[in-house]
């Protein structure tokens, strides 16, 4: 299973920086970042990091509301039209996702697409059945 770290954050000066300074102190590398924002003054920060278990523990110890959430990371190429092709395949697999973000791995060559779905087991099976390549943890976390 692959995890992102999700953190409840108020939209206030310095709150995101508090997260990054904790990760910096533990030499945890951020591989990808996505920030949700609501109209109510708070949001959720989603991070793909080099050591999600450690990051989760450290953030909680420092008084933050952090959670580990399962994600599916799909491999794609970094070319015009490749996200479109990827999404068509996801539709074919019948997988609906609630949140998505991406990351370029090698410019002009490869990228990762991160999705958050309701039912992981089925999603992975269905995505693989249409020929999509799920990225293994080692590559996602970059270890």
């Amino acid at each position: 299973m692959t995890y992102q770290v999700s953190i409840f954050l108020e939209n206030k000066l310095g709150h995101l920086e508090r997260v990054t300074s904790i990760l910096k102190a533990a030499a945890i590398n951020i591989r990808s970042l996505h920030l949700n924002h609501t109209a109510n003054g708070w949001g959720i920060l989603n991070l793909v990091v080099s050591d999600p278990v450690m990051a989760h523990q450290l953030l909680n110890e420092n008084g933050m509301s952090a959670a580990l959430r399962e994600i599916v990371v799909i491999k794609m190429t970094d070319q015009p039209g490749s996200l479109d092709a990827l999404l068509k395949a996801i539709v074919k697999a019948g997988v609906n996702f609630t949140n998505a973000y991406g990351r370029v791995v090698n410019e002009g060559e490869s990228a990762f697409f991160v999705i958050d779905v309701q039912d992981f087991k089925d999603a992975v099976v269905n995505l693989e059945s249409v020929g999509l390549q799920i990225v293994e943890n080692r590559s996602v976390y970059g270890n």
Binding site: M64, A66, A67
Partner: protein
């Protein structure tokens, strides 16, 4: 079972006779002060004498404002030389409220305090840790003298410094602790951070909580955290401080010590006594204080008498937990709201923490009630939809309770400032 069996279980009619006798003495003492000395109604009653406590209703009330306006010596009823201690409010706004005690007063206060603790099951074999501010605040010295009088090994720990509090508890095997309820939530967090469980890693068997109005739900949470019984304590500095009314081990209302205080509950608007069992403002007359007797003092605390007799056998009536203060009610969009109503709703929800804050603000010419609520770490799943549902759920529950639609603001745990004194729950920023 009882600290002073005879007085605590005195038949009602005998208790009233006792009160009449003491009331007469109190009035005679009060007129030695510049303030009551000018009161012709008290002089009249002293001349004609009283035989029923109800005759007290012929006398005027005393208010906090009068205490302030007659600062500093207006209510002093003995020679200054006889006074041995004063306690006072901070007085950051205007004159402080000051109360003087002579030796007799301190002795009777310590005795009431010991009686209270005894009623909650505290014994001379206990180790009593007093986690509260010493100095001008009455909770420190009040509990200190009371626990010493009872014979406990007392630890005058003072407020704050949670790590040291935990260390003291563990070093000396504290069995009873007294603190304000909002602090205990914070102390529990520090226990957890230290990877300690107060249920297993301390010898606590009893907590005493007071000085801050709180709900039954809040008490239950504290009992759950520490795995012990938490008894409610009520007092106010004008009536010495703690030791005015206290829960016995039945945990069903607070016995108010009627040999020391004459108690009335009035409608704060009509100033007439409320009907039996109705909520109103507590009015108190000291019956055993010499340096500064107070007559029909309006406490501003809202409560009611619980009907019936207590199973413990004490005949002193029981007050319901304090339902707020007649002066911390606020009016928003035409509705009367007590902060305790909001607290009652919030603490029924397991997803939110003990701390909350009500901010009244003017937004685009409209007065709004914003309630900041902390989402507990354990409940966070990184799920936006869950938080959204929670926010709507709280909004609906509070609107149903107070009839005003609040704006619920979810905030990070620990972000609501915790005070080591009484928690500030309402901030009014409205443009008036």
């Amino acid at each position: 079972m009882y600290w002073e069996k005879e007085i605590e279980t005195l038949e009602r009619k005998d208790l009233e006779k006792f009160q009449v006798k003491r009331l007469m003495k109190s009035l005679e003492q009060a007129v030695h002060s510049p303030f009551y000395g000018k009161d012709i109604e008290i002089q009249g009653i002293i001349r004609s004498g009283i035989n029923l406590v109800d005759q007290l209703q012929e006398l005027p009330f005393t208010t906090k404002e009068q205490l302030r306006n007659n600062f500093p010596w207006g209510f002093l009823s003995v020679n200054k030389k006889e006074v041995v201690r004063l306690h006072s409010s901070s007085g950051t706004t205007g004159n402080p409220t000051v109360v003087y005690h002579n030796r007799h007063d301190l002795g009777s206060w310590a005795n009431l305090m010991a009686r209270s603790l005894y009623a909650a099951g505290v014994r001379d074999t206990d180790v009593f840790q007093n986690i509260c501010g010493y100095g001008l605040f009455t909770g420190g010295l009040g509990f200190q003298y009371g626990s010493e009088r009872l014979g406990c090994l007392s630890i005058p720990a003072g407020a704050g410094n949670s790590l040291r509090q935990i260390k003291l508890m563990r070093d000396y095997g504290t069995t009873v602790a007294h603190a304000i309820p909002s602090y205990l939530g914070r102390l529990y967090d520090v226990f957890k951070e230290e990877r300690l469980d107060p249920r297993k890693d301390t010898n606590l068997h009893t907590l005493v909580i007071g000085a801050e109005p709180h709900t039954e739900e809040h008490r239950e949470r504290i009992e759950e955290m520490f795995g012990v019984k938490a008894y409610n304590s009520f007092g106010l500095s004008e009536m010495n401080g703690p030791g005015v009314a206290f829960e016995c081990t039945e945990q069903n209302g607070l016995h108010i010590w009627e040999d020391a205080f004459l108690v009335e509950i009035i409608n704060p608007i009509t100033l007439r006594p409320v009907g039996e069992g109705e909520v109103g403002e507590l009015v108190m007359t000291t019956l055993d204080r010499q340096a500064m007797p107070l007559i029909r003092y309006r406490t501003r605390d809202l409560t009611r008498f619980l009907p019936g007799k207590c199973k413990c056998g004490r005949t002193h009536r029981r007050l319901d937990r304090i339902a707020g203060r007649s002066d911390d009610m606020f009016i928003i969009k035409g509705c009367n709201v007590f902060p305790m109503q909001v607290e009652g709703v919030l603490l029924k929800l397991p997803e939110v923490g003990e701390d909350y804050r009500i901010i009244l603000a003017t937004i685009e010419d409209q007065d709004e009630m914003i309630i900041e609520v902390e989402v507990k770490k354990e409940w966070f799943r990184g799920d936006l939809a869950f938080l959204d549902r929670l926010q709507r759920h709280i909004t609906r529950l509070i609107r149903d309770e107070v009839l005003v639609r609040p704006f619920i603001k979810l905030v990070e745990p620990g972000s609501i400032p915790k005070s080591e004194g009484k928690a500030v729950r309402v901030i009014d920023q409205r443009i008036k």
